[in-house]
Symmetry: C2
Subunit: 272 residues, 2 copies
């Protein structure tokens, strides 16, 4: 059972995992370096725990202690009970979900490891918006993608905002970072995947016509909101696919495009 420790000093060094949570740049550097990430709110904390992440500590306001009692009872780590005011002073914002946990990262698998058992993978290039990363993981989980591969410059799926938007799907969909880009795509091809690049380019095949749900192994490549996939990524693909768009519309947002494309490549769809 966890030690339940009441903390009243915002400078207490035991709270250092939780300081300056609104400083994105700081946290982006600190969290991977220190091997931690922050889970926020009861549901997300439970999902992180259920996915096998170890907890370093929790920070709770008093009224959340009862709700989290079962988690606390099993926890071999300290729980800091604080007032909402102190939570705000430490983190930099009003923690309306009332519960934060500092979780220990796990070593990421390699892409090659993930690819041995996967059949449907999403490959993201330069998606560095935390909201988009989270939304894409949520759709990937719901629509049956087996894994996500990230180019080296993609944002961190375990950043607080990504975790929250994903509703914890970043814990359930395994992911890896490719080493080198687009060179890392070779690993994917060598594992037997057909690389489909999603692009609005008129020269691309309409995605259903490519019959991607009939392919044994599909890696669906997605670029960032706005620019889309880079020329070198497009060159490295086996085939370009597009979602048919109504006249005069630029494009779907990356979250919507990803959801449609995941749906289109899902195995077991009828017809076509």
């Amino acid at each position: 059972m966890a030690d339940l420790i009441t903390v009243e000093d915002p400078d207490d060094p035991r709270l250092s995992d939780y300081t300056g949570l609104t400083d994105v740049e700081l946290r982006r550097r600190r969290e991977p370096a220190e091997g931690l990430f922050i889970a926020e709110g009861e549901k997300v904390i439970r999902r992180a725990r259920d996915a096998g992440y170890a907890m370093r500590s929790m920070l709770l306001s008093a009224k959340w202690i009862d709700t989290m009692r079962d988690v606390i009872d099993e926890l071999p780590a300290p729980v800091y009970a604080v007032s909402p005011e102190l939570a705000e002073r430490v983190t930099g914002y009003h923690v309306h979900r009332g519960a934060l946990a500092s979780m220990q990262r796990k070593p990421l698998p390699t892409a090659a490891e993930l690819l041995t058992s996967a059949r449907r993978v999403a490959v993201m290039e330069s998606v560095n918006d935390h909201t988009n990363i989270g939304a894409i993981f949520r759709s990937a989980a719901a629509l049956g993608m087996d894994a996500v591969l990230l180019s080296p410059d993609c944002a961190d799926p375990l950043y607080r905002r990504s975790v929250k938007v994903s509703m914890g799907a970043v814990f359930s969909v395994p992911y890896a970072r490719l080493e080198g880009w687009p060179k890392g795509l070779e690993t994917v091809r060598e594992a037997g995947f057909r690389l489909l690049a999603l692009t609005p380019d008129e020269k691309a095949t309409v995605i259903d016509d490519a019959r991607p749900h009939r392919l044994d192994r599909v890696a669906l490549m997605l670029g960032a909101e706005g620019e889309g996939l880079s020329t070198r990524a497009l060159r490295a693909a086996d085939e370009w696919v597009r979602i048919p768009m109504a006249h005069g519309v630029d494009s779907l947002n990356v979250g919507a495009a990803a959801a449609v494309a995941f749906y289109a490549v899902a195995t077991g769809r009828p017809g076509a």
Copy 2:
């Protein structure tokens, strides 16, 4: 050509269309009552104009005057040139897109009018999040939905945030409000539409199995994030359809679900 008027007093009554833009509750009441809405940023302002909305005025910081010169030259309405500081004092936020326009609303068509020529319509129940409304319009435009029908309690598609997230798609996809809910759905059925209710319920037909892209006229009903469609809305539908979900996932977010469903009902898809 517009009068270009330099304004230096934040309390100048000519700027009243732009006051308190960050006060959502205030603006939600004021804008429909006063028959205006706010377009933000060059692209969105141009799209509103191209869609035939009349401009009441523009509010520009000096460096945007050249960029908007062609719009100004044709405009039979005043253009207020202000400093970025004054723009912030009036609106309540730092207007980093530098250009705002107050546009005149147009009378909405009735649902019956829209339904005469449409074949694919989205029907939204109680979607009162401005970001979600905007995202759904953007996907509706891209994926070829002909019109959107709103339950009486849906949020305003012309609210600034909705307009922005939609990338102006709220100007290009015609929409109407149903009178009465779910009673208003009768109008839709009488116009020859099959009412498909999107739900995660296991009893629903997998959406592709319902072969919705083969139907002549489809009205796809969507509920709000979280709750989904109400029981009475589900009862009023002709058929329930669901997007197949991977095991253990609650659901897609409403924007992703809408995009997938719009794709599934689009005419002209191959196969199935």
